[in-house]
Each structure stands twice: as structure tokens, then as C-alpha cells.
């Protein structure tokens, strides 16, 4: 479903991403690994259509990926940094808003929260979360919306071992349902457990 062919990113003579290729099929989890500065996040920005490659091309179902395209926005759920969160809504309100705007009538907020063991935070505002809780909530938001491809940038950051295990379970469940997952990751345990393939940059 997603193909990136020899994509690169450069600003003047500065190389942000050397040529890289990637192919992801439905029901597959691909981990992108590599040292800091190797271009993992840049590659994720290219395959989500948020950055045009300097060379090469990124295709979703054979069409160029473009964040302005409705098809791209509907197909890809991305966690690149902190997602937009309203300061006057609680955690539960945000998930209800996700369900309402995607018209997911059968969806359950409690189930979304339980997936990352944050049900107790339902009535908290975003500014009342610790950084680890905020990461869990960001993951809950990303997994709550419908998508064919989930893109995660270092999803394990600020998580303890137990919560990293929950993240692995969420990825495995998404893959089992036929969703594709691409994640840039530094946690070898998570990669070993959740990813079918690994691309080293």
C-alpha cells in the first residue's frame, strides 16, 4: 500500500535523509531504526506527505502522498510530535470528539483508554498530565481514529516497561486487523516483539 522509492531530503548542501526506500503492505509492521540524525523522522514526514522529497517519490496506493489530499488524511494516522489537543477539553472529551468527527458510533472511549491503561485519566485536562501520560494519551488518540496506515515516531519515548508492553499489544492488534504500522524506534525489545521487518538507516 505504501511505497517510498529512493527518497532523499536536502537543504542546500545539508543532507537530512540519504536515499532510502521502503515498502509496506497491509497487515504489516515495519520498524525504522538507526542512530540519532540518520533521518528516521524525516522519512516518516515524507511518507505521511508532510515533506516533499528532494528526490524520489512516496506513493500511497500508487498515488503521490500529499497531506492536502483527503485520501491521504483519511488513510494515515500519524504521531509525529504532540498532536493538536484542545486545552479546555478533557482526555475523554478528545476521544469522544475523535469518534464524533469520524462518525464511529460503535466506538467506546473506555476501550480506547484501557488500551493504554489510562482510564483513570478520563476527566483530566491535557495540562494536568505528566509527560509520560501525555505520550500515552497521544498514542490513544492516534490509535482511536480509523486509518489504514499508522505512522509512529519513537512511540516508546517516556514510557515504562509495562506501558511499552501495552504499546506492543496495540501495534500487534492493529496489524492483526489488517492495518499497516511504520514506526521509528530505538527500543530493540519493542522492535523484536511488534515488527515483522526492520529498515536500518
Amino acid at each position: 500500500m505504501l511505497t517510498a522509492i529512493e527518497v532523499t531530503a536536502r537543504i542546500d548542501d545539508q543532507v537530512l535523509l540519504p536515499p532510502a526506500s521502503l515498502e509496506v503492505a497491509e497487515g504489516e509492521c515495519v520498524a525504522i531504526t538507526g542512530p540519532n540524525g540518520s533521518g528516521k523522522t524525516t522519512l516518516l514526514r515524507i511518507i505521511t506527505g508532510r515533506l516533499a522529497p528532494t528526490e524520489g517519490e512516496a506513493l500511497l496506493d500508487g498515488e503521490p502522498v500529499d497531506e492536502r489530499s483527503a485520501a491521504t488524511r483519511a488513510s494515515i494516522a500519524a504521531l509525529l510530535g504532540v498532536p493538536a489537543m484542545y486545552p479546555d477539553l478533557t482526555i475523554g472529551d478528545h476521544l469522544e470528539l475523535v469518534h464524533a468527527t469520524w462518525q464511529l458510533e460503535a466506538a467506546d472511549v473506555d476501550a480506547d483508554l484501557d488500551r493504554f491503561s489510562i482510564a483513570a485519566l478520563r476527566d483530566r485536562f491535557v495540562h494536568e498530565l505528566s509527560s509520560g501520560q501525555q505520550q500515552l494519551f497521544s498514542l490513544a488518540l492516534t490509535f482511536a481514529r480509523p486509518a489504514r496506515l499508522i505512522v509512529l515516531d519513537e512511540p516508546e519515548q517516556r514510557l515504562d516497561a509495562h506501558r511499552t508492553g501495552l504499546l506492543a499489544e496495540a501495534v500487534e492488534a492493529a496489524v492483526a486487523e489488517g492495518q499497516a504500522v511504520v514506526m521509528a524506534c530505538h527500543d530493540h525489545g519493542l522492535v523484536e516483539r511488534a515488527a515483522q521487518r526492520r529498515v536500518e538507516l
Binding site: R73, A84, Y86, D88, V98, R145, P146
Partner: protein, 461 residues
């Protein structure tokens, strides 16, 4: 230990002579470039209004608003405003709190007093006849004392002493009567009872030390850090982020899950407003005041009331469009919600548009100018949207523009930041002041549509 010692010494040190000279030079330039022309313009605008009958109640409304604003401002940034390192290294040390914080209090007090003196000069210069000299001195003393009262009210707001703050806000309102009488005495002879204001101001000043000592260092540090962030965002003209820093934290209504039939983001905006009753009340009050001013604005001999009415409507739009601002500021992030950017923007426009149209029109209807109120509300919302959708400051705007009269890039940044507000004020006030009711309403509507297209073009970029 030498490095901390040196840091402490530097933090405590008085500014050098060259620093002081630079400060004085900048202050003189600011007075010549901004204060004098503005004061001159205000004098010309106030002159015809002075010929009309301004009652003590009118003055009391203005002084009460100033008192409340001073208390409110103190909660966000008080007159005692040290830097965060100063709080960490000096205020948190063993020294007497009153002694280490006194310089900041005196500095702010001097600033407020200077502003009061300039305001008093503008008002006196607006008269078309020479005042009685003794009455002029009395007015100057009363205005100066009122400035002191406001400064103490500002400090009371910062120190969160509720009773003191309430008392000072009430005293500010009550000061409207003596201020009016001191003004009225200029044409005849001084009225000595007005000297009660300086007496009250001196008593209030005596409580300042208690208020300074009541300041919590942790709160001073929070204010310092917050303002440092605001300054950083302001330098890059990122006012949306600056507003986010200043915005109060939502704490109410967390368990409230209303279900009512409305599009998802319209419901969100209503919930957001109900959870921030202070913002909602401020927005509605500003909108109501703007509507009430529309009728006098159209009959007034000066455009200053029309300018105030339009500025208030724009401020009300800012208070009531939190959802729009937040959504516009975060539109570059990956989408979580299942709406297109266009539907997101349109849904976020519903609540501020409906509220402003209803409140401003209803208030304007009191003076029989509801149509103008409706037009102004739509113009204010359109300008607010144009401002929210403008995005981040283009980096090339920071490159220097060297002209024979100096470097002008900051002026360009200033215009970029305030463009929608300036359009709102210039277009809105001109139409309100120059045209009759129905022509004005039609032109305001037309202006709102044109600004709406402008906002849309910015959003589409």
C-alpha cells in the same frame, strides 16, 4: 562558589551609567515618536467631546473599569516583576522580601505615575480655554493620586489579597466623582473636597509594603517565566503562542458531558466557553459594551468612540474564538479529528459569529442601531479569522530594512502582526463615523465579506 557569588553581585548591581543613558535615550525617543503624536491626536479628538456634558457617572464608569483592569492585570503580571534568575538567586535568599522587591515596585509605580501625568496633560490640553491655575494644580494632584491608587490596585491583584483588591477597585470607581469635579473646577475655581483622593492614595500606599511582603516567590517566578515566554513569542510575532501562554488553565467542568444536537466542533466550542466562564463573560461584556457605544459613536463629534467600539468588538471576537485560534495555530500538525480543514474552520466560526451578532446587535438595539451592530459583529469575526489564519511570520520579514531614518523591519513586523486589527478599526470606525445607519450597515456587511475572502485566501495557503 565564586560563580554564584558573581552572579548574585551582577543581579543586585545597579545599572551602569551607560545603561542608564541608553534607557533614557530610548525613553526620550519613545516619547517623541509615539507619546507626543498620540497625545496630540487624542487632544484634538477629545476637544469637541469636552464641549459636551460629561457627568460624574461617565467618569466613574471609566475609573471603575481602570481599577478592575489593574487588579486583573496584577494576576497575570504584577508591578513587581523581577526576572526568574533574580527570584531564584536573590528573592529566595535570606534577605528581607520587602527590601529585595522594593526596586521593582518603585519602578512600576514611576511608570504608572508618568502615564497618569500624560493622561492628565492630554485632558487639560483638550480644553479650549485657559484653566484656573490653582484648579489646574488641584487636578494634577488628583490625577497623580488616582495613578497611585491604580498602581496599588495592580499590586493588590498580584498579591491576591482579595479584600484589598475589592476595596481598591471600589475606591477607583468612587474616584470618578472627585476627578469629575476637579475637572469641572478648571473653568471656575478649585473644589477642595476633591483632595480626598490624595489622602486615600497615601493611605493605600501605606499598605503597599504589606502587599509586597505577601507576594509568593514561587508565583513571582511563574510570572517571570511566563512573561519571558511571551516576550520570546512576541519577538517572533507568534501571538497565538503568546496567547496560549497567557491563557488561564481550565479547571472547571471536567465531569460535565453535555449531549445536545450540534456539529461536533460547535459543541466543543460551547463546552470550552462554559468551562472558561471568565473568558466567556469578558467576551460577552466587551461585545455588549461595543454595541452600547455604537449609537453615541454615530452621533459623536469625534471618531474616538467609533474607534473604541470597533476595538472592543475585535477584542470580544478574540475572547470568544478560542477554538478557532487553537485550530488555526495547530493546523500543521497531523490530523486527529475526522473533518476537513475547511469544515473545521467553518464549524469553529459558528459560536463566535452567533454570539457576537446576537450580543452586539441586542446592545446596539438599545440605541436603535441594531443593523450596524450586526454588520460590525460580522466584520470583527471576519478580521479575527484573517488574523488567526495568517500563520507564522515569514522569516524574510526579520531581515533589516535600512532607511535614512533608521532600521524599519520592526515596523513591518508590527504591521504584519496587527494587520487584521488595523483593517477592522480603520474600516469599521470610518464607516460607523461617516455614514448613516443603513448605508453603514450595508458597507460593514460588504467589508465583512471582503475580509472573509481575505481570510479564506490566508487559510488556503
Amino acid at each position: 562558589m565564586r560563580a554564584p557569588d558573581r552572579l548574585l553581585r551582577e543581579l543586585r548591581e545597579r545599572p551602569s551609567t551607560s545603561d542608564r543613558a541608553t534607557d533614557i535615550y530610548i525613553a526620550v525617543l519613545a516619547v517623541l515618536v509615539f507619546v507626543v503624536p498620540l497625545a496630540r491626536w487624542a487632544t484634538l479628538q477629545l476637544a469637541p467631546a469636552m464641549a459636551r456634558d460629561v457627568g460624574p457617572v461617565h467618569v466613574a464608569i471609566v475609573t471603575a473599569a481602570l481599577g478592575v483592569a489593574a487588579v486583573g492585570a496584577g494576576r497575570t503580571r504584577g508591578p513587581v516583576a523581577p526576572t526568574a534568575p533574580y527570584v531564584d538567586w536573590v528573592v529566595s535568599g535570606p534577605d528581607d522580601l520587602a527590601r529585595v522587591l522594593r526596586p521593582f515596585w518603585w519602578r512600576s509605580l514611576g511608570g504608572v505615575t508618568a502615564v497618569a501625568v500624560v493622561a492628565g496633560l492630554v485632558v487639560v490640553a483638550s480644553r479650549d480655554t485657559w484653566p484656573d491655575p490653582l484648579a489646574a494644580v488641584v487636578l494634577a494632584v488628583v490625577v497623580l493620586a488616582f495613578g497611585l491608587l491604580l498602581a496599588v490596585a495592580w499590586l493588590a491583584g498580584q498579591s491576591r489579597l482579595r479584600l484589598s483588591a475589592l476595596a481598591l477597585a471600589l475606591l477607583s470607581a468612587a474616584a470618578g466623582w472627585p476627578l469629575h469635579d476637579a475637572w469641572a473646577g478648571l473653568g471656575t475655581q478649585p473644589r477642595w473636597w476633591v483632595m480626598v483622593v490624595p489622602v486615600v492614595a497615601v493611605v493605600a500606599m501605606l499598605s503597599a509594603r504589606r502587599m509586597v511582603v505577601a507576594l509568593l516567590p514561587s508565583r513571582l517566578r511563574t510570572q517571570a517565566l511566563r512573561w519571558s515566554q511571551v516576550e520570546s513569542f512576541a519577538i517572533t510575532a507568534d501571538l497565538a503562542s503568546a496567547a496560549d501562554v497567557l491563557r488561564g488553565r481550565t479547571r472547571r467542568g471536567r465531569g460535565w458531558r453535555p449531549t445536545f444536537g450540534a456539529p461536533a466542533l460547535v459543541r466543543r466550542d460551547l463546552i470550552g466557553l462554559l468551562r472558561s466562564p471568565g473568558r466567556a463573560a469578558a467576551g460577552i461584556a466587551l461585545a455588549g459594551l461595543s454595541g452600547l457605544l455604537l449609537s453615541p459613536a454615530q452621533d459623536a463629534p469625534t471618531p474616538i468612540i467609533a474607534i473604541a467600539a470597533v476595538a472592543l468588538s475585535y477584542a470580544a471576537a478574540c475572547y470568544l474564538s478560542d477554538g478557532l485560534r487553537f485550530s488555526a495555530a495547530n493546523r500543521s500538525r497531523p490530523p486527529v479529528f475526522g473533518l476537513t480543514p475547511a469544515r473545521t474552520a467553518l464549524q469553529h466560526l459558528v459560536v463566535p459569529t452567533v454570539l457576537l451578532v446576537v450580543v452586539i446587535s441586542a446592545a446596539a438595539a438599545v440605541g436603535g442601531v441594531a443593523a450596524s451592530g450586526c454588520g460590525l459583529a460580522l466584520l470583527a469575526v471576519a478580521c479575527r479569522a484573517a488574523s488567526a489564519f495568517k500563520g507564522l511570520l515569514p522569516i524574510e520579514y526579520l531581515t533589516p530594512i535600512v532607511t535614512p531614518v533608521g532600521e524599519m523591519s520592526s515596523l513591518r513586523v508590527l504591521f504584519w502582526v496587527a494587520d487584521a486589527f488595523l483593517v477592522c478599526v480603520l474600516v469599521g470606525a470610518t464607516i460607523l463615523f461617516q455614514t448613516d445607519l443603513w448605508t453603514g450597515a450595508g458597507l460593514l456587511l460588504l467589508a465583512a465579506v471582503l475580509v472573509g475572502f481575505w481570510a479564506r485566501s490566508r487559510w488556503a495557503r
